[in-house]
Amino acid sequence: MSEFLKKYEGLWMFLNSPSAIVAAMVAIFIIMGAVFASQIALVNPYDLASFSLFDGLLPPFWQEGANVKYLLGTDDQGRDMISSILYGARLSLIISLSALAIAAVLGVGLGLAAGYYGGRFDIIVMRIADVQLALPAILTALLIDGIARGLLPQAIQQDLRVVVLTLAIALSLWVNFARTARASTFIEINKDYVHAAIMMGQRPMRIMFVHILPNILGPLLVIMTVDLASAILLEATLSFLGIGLPADSPSLGTLIRIGMQFLLSGEWWILWIPTVVLVALVVSINILGDFLRDIFNPRLR
């Protein structure tokens, strides 16, 4: 295969996979909406003065009694559903992406070092990973949240909810990165270019991050997408359980929890519209993750 084709093979495969294209479009649509939430949204759902109870419980535009101003209806407080969802998706994405970044830096750093140095350091890191794996991610996250509740003074707890939630998710996801980075480093470390770098007397830090890291990025990128989906799900689940964020700054999970109260009454849109957005976001990211895995794993082609 020519150099040119090789370079753009991934793009070519992408253009030939309708499901990947649709998934990318859905994900980009939601992410753009979240990024420009404050520009697009009709009202600011965090600002009590910007909406009124008189507009409460309006249905979406295709149902009778709707107000075209609120295309997807309003909740019981009179908040525009679209605005709530845009801001909610923004908060969900901010938390998940920062958690993922922290998990990636921590996990890749520890994994690289464990693979590079081996020996006692490797054993310690992997034993910690073992213990962590004995506890499923959601349990770890809940536990960290509980500890934070016990340790932090009451007064600042509400302000730190987002930070605690982010850290809880990050600390329950780092193991995947660490194990993948370690396994790949073990393979790379016996290659000639690493030997050459060691012979030239380069510092370990430089060898790890400048030489080895770029060569193991492929599998890490796959973990990244898969874990982004996990992080979004984890955040949504914690918020749904009422452990995550307070009700006045709702993420997608909180919106669904609030919507649960309307399960028995007729106001279906308050529950189902945020649910559909959450599921669409996660499904499309998972499809993209599967697609990336196929690209980076030639064995499966």
Binding site: R127, D130, V131, A134, L135, P136, A137, I138, L139, L142, L143, D145, G146, I147, R149, G150, L151, A229, L233, A236, T237, F240, L241, G242, I243, I256, M260, L263, L264, L271, T275, L278, V279, V282, V283, I285, N286, I287, D290
Partner: protein
């Protein structure tokens, strides 16, 4: 073989000690146990006396060893919130969670294994393609959304099944079971499906991959060449070798089932350990949190240990490899 078993047991003990240490640190360092146990009006002198009595001034190592000894003896301390022994609170909730988890695992295996075999044997069929697509969507839908959907369809719209609680239970000794009343079974259906769906997709995907690998192996080709009927070939020769890894995933899934039972129990107000754990987090009831952690880790380690030993007993290849 003895060496292998010993190594696995040592590993398990290590995990348990680590978890016990986490639970101990929780109890000792997150909030002061004395202020939690006593009221505002307790004098400083009394507080100090209680501290001395409980041995909270001893060296940390002594305290940790005492903590472990008490745990092993089944003395789990008292809840900050209800002032009752944590051991009783947890014991009351164990049957609900275990019954839910077992039924969910059964669903996952009884549906997942046949579906995996089918999709492996007919990889190009339309049914296979639609099953695979459904599972991809299935893993992306959060557990609580599946629960809400089931409640909405079967509980609210159709009104066929109850949507919260355990229904009728029968008490056998200390075990409160919902297996013996129709009401109990009806209440079990929706939560068990909710909990089982995610595990089902995992089982199916794994069985499919394994089965496809086995079908390509030499001994299957040889059996084909011998003219053995396809049915016998698939179910006697191929499936048997696929089953070995399936046992392992049961062990791995157990942890997932227990963890996600927290979510399922919250959606369905199922009175199990998960719901208790959520309440204890909300009220920062540290002793209950710690004990929940230890109990869950214990089940998890135990199941995984048994699975590993089973694996070893079932697959003769592992034994020879270890011996050589």
């Amino acid at each position: 073989m003895a060496y292998f078993i010993l190594k696995r047991i040592v590993q398990s003990v290590f995990v348990m000690v680590a978890v016990a240490f986490i639970a101990f640190s929780l109890f000792r360092f997150v909030g002061d146990p004395i202020t939690q146990m006593t009221g505002v009006e307790t004098s400083v002198v009394d507080q100090e006396r209680l501290r001395e009595e409980l041995g909270l001034n001893d060296p940390y190592v002594t305290q940790f060893l005492r903590f472990v000894r008490e745990m092993v003896q089944g003395d789990f301390g008292f809840s900050y919130r209800t002032r009752q022994p944590v051991a009783n609170m947890i014991a009351d909730r164990i049957p609900a969670t275990l019954e839910l988890g077992i039924v969910a695992l059964m669903i996952s295996l009884l549906v997942g294994v046949p579906a995996g075999v089918y999709t492996a044997l007919k990889p190009r069929g339309i049914l296979t393609q639609s099953i695979l697509m459904t599972t991809l969507v299935g893993v992306s839908i959060p557990t609580f959304v599946i629960g809400i959907m089931l409640i909405f369809i079967f509980g609210v719209q159709l009104g066929w099944l109850p949507t919260f609680g355990r229904g009728g239970t029968v008490k056998i000794g200390i075990w409160e079971s919902s297996f013996f009343t129709l009401n109990g079974w009806r209440a079990l259906v929706l939560p068990a499906i909710t909990l089982g769906v995610y595990q089902l997709t995992l089982t199916m995907r794994l069985v499919r991959t394994e089965m496809m690998g086995v079908m390509k192996s030499d001994y299957i080709r040889f059996a084909m060449a011998r003219g053995i009927s396809m049915k016998r070939l698939h179910y006697k020769h191929a499936l048997r070798n696929t089953m070995v890894p399936v046992i392992t995933i049961v062990g791995l899934q157990f942890g997932g089932v227990i963890a996600f039972s927290i979510v399922t129990e919250s959606v369905f107000q199922w009175p199990g350990m998960g719901l208790l754990f959520l309440e204890s987090i909300r009220f920062v009831d540290i002793p209950v949190m710690g004990v929940y952690l230890v109990v869950i880790a214990f089940f998890f380690v135990l199941v995984n240990l048994i699975v590993d030993l089973l694996y070893f007993a079932i697959d003769p290849r592992l034994r020879t490899k270890e011996a050589s």
